[in-house]
């Protein structure tokens, strides 16, 4: 007998709707990852980051300096 049906049958997640599972949580996680990248490239005030990203920030119209 395979263990897999037993494993999945025992996972208790009836309270979570499909919308949350398929749409809201993946979007939220992807969004957080995106914000982290934008912060590093666009807003981080570490001087090396600023100087390396300088031209890109000016071109993207981010507040710089």
């Amino acid at each position: 007998m395979s263990l897999v049906p037993l494993l999945t049958a025992n996972v208790d997640t009836p309270s979570l709707s499909n919308a949350l599972k398929d749409s809201i949580l993946p979007s939220l996680l992807a969004g957080i990852l995106g914000l982290a990248l934008l912060y590093g490239a666009g807003f981080s005030e570490t001087i090396q980051f600023h100087n390396a990203a300088h031209d890109g920030r000016h071109s993207a119209s981010f507040p710089c300096h």
Binding site: V11, H58, S59, S61, P63
Partner: protein, 258 residues
């Protein structure tokens, strides 16, 4: 036969709560779209944005030299401090090194924007054709370029500006309000919500962006205008391509699901 009970550790339950394949598709689509759009933006910029930027920098340097010479008459110590700072701060050298760093920045920004765009498209429901992505791209352009630029136009180096944190706060507020405003205006059914969306769109501009006490720039005004036009075009192309690519990946995934 005796029934076996398997206890699932909480970590695995958490994984089952999230649809990992949707998340993976979002990340992979964003990486590909961001890579290509970031490279395209770098090519476009090096043709029409960077030349203006470098010209403006020459004016800025000239202005700094004038200030330093003026200072040497008054106080030689201050000039020394300034020189010291210049030596310590690393910056990429002009030429290929600078272009490579700009490309890395552009790709990081593009992947970041693509993740946000993909997350929003996924919330709204999948798109059926890449052409729908043009509208999503237009929305991204409005949120992240047009709306903030109305109050804080893209500036060449050497332009006098208000306090950085004040400007960043206004930028963030404008981006958030424009996002929610557009969403309500286009996706909500009731008139009251649409009106609320419209109010959210206009209020950051009614409040107004922080401005410097005195507007001044080392570079001539024509150069500043040229820079606004060049970035407006480069960013428009960037967002339209990014939107189409993200929609293309979303529609491809829909087909493979059926």
């Amino acid at each position: 036969m005796q029934r076996m009970t398997v206890v699932i550790p909480p970590v695995f339950r958490a994984i089952n709560v999230l649809n990992l394949s949707t998340f993976k598709i979002l990340v992979v689509s964003a990486l590909w779209s961001g890579l290509w759009t970031g490279l395209l933006l770098t090519a476009l910029q090096s043709i029409q944005v960077i030349p203006v930027l470098i010209q403006a920098e020459a004016y800025e340097k000239q202005a700094t030299v004038t200030v330093i010479t003026a200072h040497t008459h008054d106080d030689s110590k201050e000039t020394k401090i300034h020189d010291h700072h210049e030596a310590v701060e690393w910056q990429p050298g002009n030429g290929w090194e600078r272009t490579v760093y700009t490309a890395v920045t552009n790709i990081s920004l593009a992947v970041g924007f693509a993740l946000l765009l993909g997350a929003t498209i996924n919330l709204r429901g999948p798109v059926s054709h890449w052409r729908n992505g043009l509208l999503w791209g237009l929305a991204g352009y409005t949120v992240f370029f047009v709306a903030p630029s109305l109050g804080l136009p893209p500036e060449v180096p050497g332009t006098e500006a208000a306090n950085l944190h004040g400007r960043q706060l206004w930028w963030l507020m404008t981006v958030l309000m424009t996002t929610v405003g557009l969403w309500l205006l286009f996706f909500s059914k009731t008139r009251l919500n649409k009106l609320l969306g419209f109010l959210l769109l206009v209020s950051p501009h009614w409040i107004g962006a922080p401005q410097p006490d005195v507007h001044s720039s080392a570079a001539p005004a024509e150069l500043a205008h040229l820079f606004i036009a060049a970035t407006a075009f480069a960013n428009a192309a960037f967002w339209l391509v990014l939107g189409s690519l993200m929609a293309f990946f979303s529609s491809k995934h829909q087909v493979s699901k059926k």
